[in-house]
Symmetry: C2
Subunit: 476 residues, 2 copies
């Protein structure tokens, strides 16, 4: 398959008259065997149980997660974890700085509960988790249960004064998350007093999943919470059976302005082109709904990226370009005020020199492919690199075109910088990842030390190659 | 295989001189083709989407679960569900009575919480569920984490004044549940002030599982609670890392004497030997830890058994012996005061006439085998029946010898009555069942309407055959 892609690329380039350029790109393979040996060494050292790099990503992550707990944006726990990470990097002897993320509004969760009064003979507390950014409220009302936005419209006459419950099916994250994001808006437009959304997950053990929601201008802001899949299905049965559903939703929450945080920025300066920058990272903040929330989203992401940087640095490699690790703050509900947005803004003058933005934020399972978003020449270059270097010793042979962008890397990508991400073993709709995502189950128990190592090796190998290539990954 | 067993049985019987008896047993097949047609009819009617029996078990169970919620022994919710079930049976035109279960001590859960103070920078509430029958308490202490009872002994010097955390591996229910049952006893013997037990489950989304625990004479009664798998693993990491673990366990609970409940007893009287009784059933009570707790344990069990009785009755079949459905009260922590114990005691004069005791209490997934506990002649008879009738049209061909006993049927079995249970599709350690068992996830979402139907058909077929056989299932 990789050979077929190579042949196809050669033909396509010849046809478009870009053959001269292609021969330039080939220069990056001036010393293929030497590079292959370097990659093998990186792999060997991580796989060696006696090495300090063996399971180091898992150990570093477990220490941070166990010690500091969930890291909601704006919380002191997050700031303590960020400071500790920066100190660890300093102790590793790697250049590190904290870049401020200022004046954002932090969201604070207070007491919250959902109580079912009817049809139960006695009030029943149900599991629930308020959605991020939701206003608080104290609403007692009957419920209308809908299975889609179309169904909501069909039942519009029932909605005024009611709590709308979205008992929607899991399709995939991108599809189903629309109910979490704008369910409150659509319900409020029809006069609902609150919105309850089936958790955006393929599987549940009565485990609610939070996440960010939004409001719209000129639409009443009503409280919105997630309920467990099981309870959404229960409400649908009750509604279809004709049972009255009477509920109280109580939610406290506060939006606190002028909060501050930091992006952690660490780098290995390029030996030939230090001004040329390859970014890799993940986000430090998490949701706040369990004992270890943020182990997988995105603790595993930022820690494996840092360990990849450290592996290159400690292996005595001196790649030509600068490799910059960033642990962004504020991905979960940061939007335009997030650390990633602020990084791109603060470093606008450097954006022409950014070669690639890599983000890991969909888990750290055994890597099977790379996602790439950029121009056609960049894609050709990247596919060529993957088939040349990863096929021989790794199981990462596939490049998914158009799949490189993630939330934080997207801010750099908006300047025309190619984006890459790692893709791990999962179902097509990432059922493994989303089973734990944004729930109390996002814990160290989801993480596998060997699989984290595989990610470290894969990312380090990729970054060494990209940073040391004779010709840089092209944007076009 | 079945033929081999038959040949083996023939040989064995010939050798032991029991051939005459065997030829008696064969009389039960005096009309094999007619019986096969009856079984096919039972199957067809349940599979017919237009039939009232199609998905009727699922619908009946969902109504009870959604309407009454969890059914802790001694709670009014349980009693309302029991009354409603009895009324439904009456409306179905089937003989039903309520048999009192008197003077037991009910256990009432109050407020409870677990808070982690160290090593976290801020107090962290952890998910927990107090174990059934545990005393209350309010304990703030450091923790000692152990991985087995042997490890507890090895760390005995650390235990006085501490909270013992059992971070034990999942082996299977029977093995691992020992820590839930007697963890508090073993910890208290060494001076511990509380015990926290990893939930007895193969898989978790930060989902604690409760269950009954016990105390021993002359050993201090300390509070005991279950924690999620993820947190047990976290505590083990902290302990091995040398971090101090400081916790508060707060539990309220009350033991309230002189509680009452009922067994629901419904029957189809035998047309020839009404005094001969075949019992089938499950238990109505459940734990109290989620919105629908008790859907699978054991709502599905007692409802499928009742639907099997109703299917036989409404099909106009008049088997020779009496089929008696019992919905026992108080299995979860009833012990010798449970409804099943009381039933056996109240009906001790009838015990000689009990032919079989069937209990469904390990889920209602697609049936694949029967468990049988009884004598060798009973086993031979049962295996012969299964291979004659179930192989042609059902996928239930296997009989697991010694696997017929369950908690409630065991009280009848103690009088020498053979016991049978249904075995559904699962892993060897029943990972599917135990993932939800005793947790908030034991909901209707675990239940599958088609698989419940398959159980109804299988159980109805078995009971029709056993009740109408020319020669009864022997005890010896």
């Amino acid at each position: 398959m990789a050979n077929q892609i190579l042949v196809f690329c050669l033909l396509a380039l010849a046809i478009t008259g870009s053959l001269a350029r292609f021969s330039d790109i080939r220069k990056k393979y001036s010393d293929i065997q030497r590079n292959q040996q370097i990659l093998k060494n990186l792999k060997d050292v991580v796989e060696d149980p006696a090495s300090q790099f063996h399971h180091s990503a898992y150990r570093r992550l477990a220490y941070l997660v166990d010690t500091y707990g969930p890291r909601l944006w704006g919380s002191q726990s997050l700031e303590l974890a960020i400071q500790d990470l920066a100190n660890q990097i300093k102790e590793d002897g790697i250049d590190v700085r904290l870049e401020p993320v200022r004046n954002f509004t932090k969201w604070v969760r207070g007491q919250e509960s959902l109580t079912l009064f009817e049809p139960r003979p006695f009030p029943q507390k149900l599991k629930m988790i308020g959605l991020g950014r939701s206003v608080g409220g104290n609403v007692t009302a009957d419920a209308v249960v809908v299975t889609s936005f179309d169904d909501l419209q069909a039942k519009a006459h029932l909605v005024p004064g009611k709590i709308v419950i979205y008992a929607v099916p899991w399709v995939n994250y991108e599809t189903t998350v629309a109910y979490r994001g704008s369910g409150a808006i659509e319900a409020a437009k029809l006069g609902a007093v609150a919105a309850l959304v089936r958790s955006i997950t393929p599987f549940s053990i009565e485990s609610p999943h939070t996440g960010s929601m939004s409001y719209a201008a000129n639409v009443t802001q009503i409280p919105a919470a997630a309920i467990a899949v099981e309870d959404a299905e229960m409400f649908l049965r009750m509604f279809e059976r004709g049972q009255r559903i009477r509920l109280n939703l109580y939610m406290e929450s506060w939006n606190v302005p002028n909060a501050n945080s930091f992006n952690v920025v660490a780098e290995l300066r390029g030996s030939v082109y230090p001004e040329k920058i390859l970014v890799l990272g993940g986000h430090t903040d998490s949701w706040d709904v369990g004992s270890q929330t943020g182990a997988n989203d995105d603790g595993g992401g930022f820690v494996t990226c840092y360990e990849a940087l450290r592996l290159i640095a400690k292996s005595g490699l001196t790649p030509k370009r600068t490799i910059r690790f960033i642990a962004w703050s504020g991905e979960e509900y940061g939007g335009s005020l997030s650390g990633a947005s602020q990084y791109a803004n603060d470093h606008k003058d450097e954006m022409d020199n950014h070669i690639v933005a890599f983000e890991s934020d969909l888990g750290s399972r055994t890597p099977v492919a790379w996602g790439f978003s950029g121009g056609q020449n960049g894609l050709n270059y990247f596919q060529d690199l993957v088939s040349t270097y990863f096929k021989p010793i790794y199981n990462i042979t596939e490049v998914l075109d158009g799949e490189g962008e993630m939330v934080d890397s997207g801010y750099i990508g908006s300047y025309g910088v190619p984006m890459v991400r790692n893709i791990g073993q999962d179902t097509p709709s990432n059922d493994y990842y989303f089973t734990f995502h944004h729930s109390a189950g996002d814990s160290m128990s989801v993480m596998d030390p060997d699989q984290m190592d595989e990610n470290v090796v894969g990312i380090a190998s990729l970054f060494y190659l990209l940073a040391d290539a004779d010709v840089a990954l092209p944007r076009d």
